[in-house]
């Protein structure tokens, strides 16, 4: 060992820097299952406080749904706890194939391959299917895990301005000579809650002979009439060549992800994707839970419908109350505050009032776009939302930003 005082100091200095800039992340400890109301101990060891959770990706409220838990129990009893092996040695059970099949049907694709997480799916897919003769053209706001996947791939990289179809078209023209061109986008962008213009993207892909890749992690299960995702919403089912998504958000929220799409592309991932080859797949207990989730949401759209109603109520309530939100239709609703310190203070005040939401600021979002991101869930009942709305408006009033324009807020607090 040579972890000297000098080493310690290097890291300590950097950590102190983060604290000074207000960028230090602290974890709040939850002492109960994930739900619309949770018991939180913060700082760790402090007395537990009951708060309404407005920041989980538990969109459908299935993370602790009794049917899902029961199915997970069944998984444990029938297929054991662990596989202690990667897929292609002795780590594939019949239920893994069943889940892949179910996801294929649900997403309306040709085939599906499971990954330990959607982060791993995004990290493995590009390197597995693309060569140095290809180009990846990504929306500038795609998720960090896609950025990592692109960094590991040999294909050339380029980007286009967020959801700017003219700019995308320019880039497609520029790379006309490449063997494969892949347009890369999120379905629902997690920071703004805006949906990709997937119909337009597919049109451009057809015009310029490109493939379309979409990460639908913040949409699978609830966007679209039957919750299949952004491709259903944009009416392009079957036209997106590669979809990656997660089981770690709306679809139960435990863990796991997948690549779903053209048969040969999926097969290529089975042969070559490194996180698939070198890591255990999803544990049986999680697989059975996910199967139950897909059953539940294929049988009825009740939960996604409730989520849609909750979202409408919340967006309308905030806007009419005088707060500025990013417009849209998804259950990700950013309340814009523009100033980093204001965002932090706002979140703190909310927490005091029993509402748990997180402030985001640079570098997570662009400078001058600090915000509180709220996320709706089908687990929220009207009384939760009414209480939360009341708190948002009270705190907004306290900081004197209700019914103010963006410019007025910036004049008061700076950018």
């Amino acid at each position: 060992m040579a972890f000297s005082e000098a080493h310690r100091n290097i890291f300590q200095t950097e950590l102190n820097g983060l604290k000074e800039q207000g960028l230090f992340k602290e974890e709040r400890i939850i002492c109960a299952p994930q739900s619309s109301e949770i018991e939180v101990s913060f700082p760790f060891g402090a007395e537990e406080k009951r708060v309404i959770n407005m920041c989980a990706n538990n969109y459908l409220g299935l993370s602790s749904h009794p049917d899902v838990v029961e199915a997970a129990r069944k998984g444990l009893d029938h297929r054991g706890y662990g596989m202690s092996s990667v897929r292609f040695i002795c780590g594939t059970q019949d239920i893994h194939k069943q889940l892949e099949q179910k996801l294929t049907e649900f997403l309306g694709t040709e085939d599906t391959i499971l990954f330990p997480s959607c982060m791993d799916a995004n990290c493995g897919v590009f390197e597995a299917v693309l060569t140095d003769q290809d180009v990846m053209i990504a929306d500038r706001l795609v998720h960090a895990s896609i950025v990592d996947g692109m960094r590991l791939a040999k294909a050339q990289q380029d980007t286009y301005k967020h959801s700017d179809m003219e700019h995308l078209e320019k880039k497609l023209e520029l790379h006309q000579d490449k063997r494969l061109k892949v347009i890369i986008t999120d379905g629902n962008f997690s920071m703004d809650g805006d949906l990709a213009k997937l119909d337009k993207i597919v049109e451009l892909a057809e015009k310029y002979n490109a493939l379309v890749f979409m990460d639908d992690s913040h949409a699978s299960g609830f966007i679209g009439k039957t919750g299949r995702g952004t491709h259903e919403h944009c009416n392009v089912i079957g036209k997106v060549d590669i979809i990656t998504t997660t089981l770690g958000k709306a679809l139960g929220g435990a863990s796991g992800g997948c690549v779903s799409g053209r048969r040969e592309l999926v097969e290529m991932c089975r042969q070559k994707a490194r996180p698939y080859l070198f890591s255990n797949t999803i544990a049986p207990v999680v697989v059975e839970g996910a199967l139950a989730v897909l059953d539940l949401i294929s049988r009825s759209t009740e939960r996604r419908d409730k989520l849609e109603k909750n979202t409408e109520f919340w967006r309308k309530g905030l806007t009419e109350g005088g707060l500025i939100i990013k417009e849209g239709e998804t259950p990700i609703v950013p309340v814009m505050l523009f100033n980093a310190k204001l965002a932090q203070d706002f979140a703190k005040d909310l927490y005091e009032m029993g509402i748990y939401a997180i402030g985001f600021f640079f570098p997570v979002v662009p400078k001058g776009q600090a915000r509180i991101r709220t996320q709706l869930s089908a687990a929220h009942d009207m009384h939760h939302l009414e209480k939360a709305l009341d708190a948002f408006l009270k705190v907004g009033k306290k900081h004197n930003i209700l019914h103010k324009t963006k410019q007025e807020i910036i004049d008061m607090y700076g950018q």
Partner: protein, 422 residues
Amino acid sequence: MYQRVRYDLNEELRKIKSGGLYKEERIILSDQKPGISVSYPVGSESREVLNFCSNNYLGLANHPRIIEAAHKSLDQYGFGMASVRFICGTQDIHKKLEKKISAFYEMEDTILYSSCFDANGGLFETILSSEDAIITDSLNHASIIDGIRLCKAKRYIYDHSDMKSLEKALKAAREGVDLFDHHPGLDKEPNPARNIMIATDGVFSMDGDIAKLDEIVELAKEYDAMVMVDDSHATGFLGEKGRGSIEYCDCLGEVDVITSTLGKAMGGASGGFITGKKEIVDMLRQRSRPYLFSNTVAPAIVGAALEAFDILTESNDLRKKLMENTSHFRKSISQLGFDITPGVHPIVPILFRKFEDDAQLSQVFSRDLYEEGIYVIGFFFPVVPKGQSRIRVQISAAHTTEQIDKAIAAFEKVGKKHKVIK
């Protein structure tokens, strides 16, 4: 568009198949244990075989106490968190497990990851910059390689477990010169590294050989370098108390960063961790991308992992059984005349170095063993070097002596059939 891609990809898949590199999955219709039920090829009737290729070293994959703990955790903590750690994805049991692992290794702090693959993927980039250097064993696991690929530090590779080669690399990193002049004309100015980290597997998964950690630690001291060990194939069973290659080599407290998995001996579901110096772990919580951007280990798995560590601290029985099984198998199989790499690890590679068609032999051999009811995998180039094709056998504490004897008998029969032994 997709039509042409389809054609290209089918062509490439055909090549993979004709090269004998096509990976096929065997579907298991039971829980993981020594006697599993397999349907292979897909759709055929299932049959019972003895499993000698899992990482279920301690037999915890379906241990009743582990299953019970997972059930309890599901009831008390639910199915999923639907959030990353620092938003609303941390439960008290996650902190408890991190504490337990720190105590187990006598380390300052621990951070959980969704897998050890992700732990290795998120480690180097976070703590090393372009001013630093990383020195890596040539046979390190793919996930370490990916982690290094994502990191900007200068890279030096040393020959597998070769301490002279490691020292040469350390010197080069300290002086800031390239070991190989890849870019003549560029980087002429020596650029001494600020921090240096040596990265090695604790146990190398293809050979089951253990890193010379004691010597590595000595060299690290001499050259003021940090040491990182991936102990995935050792955690829980190597060393007197199961603290892996670090304990086996008597280096407890001397290694700065340990990464390991909960996905092998420790129950085998999923999850990994990094344990080490407090500031490093703190830094990882702030910046490590797989930690920031992915859910952590699900509650059911955390509960079971806590139980797994308890089982290990309560008694040595499973470890003892595993070591007895291993030495019984190693002894019998070499007495039969098979070519195995000597050692103590439950990974036992059976080599075909004396045979010209070693690659093919490894495949035929494993197929015949399967016919005899023994499930093992044959590995050949490029997974292992040319001429070193092998059957990799993995022993478990869950194997009974009868099951091991049955495997030995099958090896004898198939070995004689192919004239590998007399």
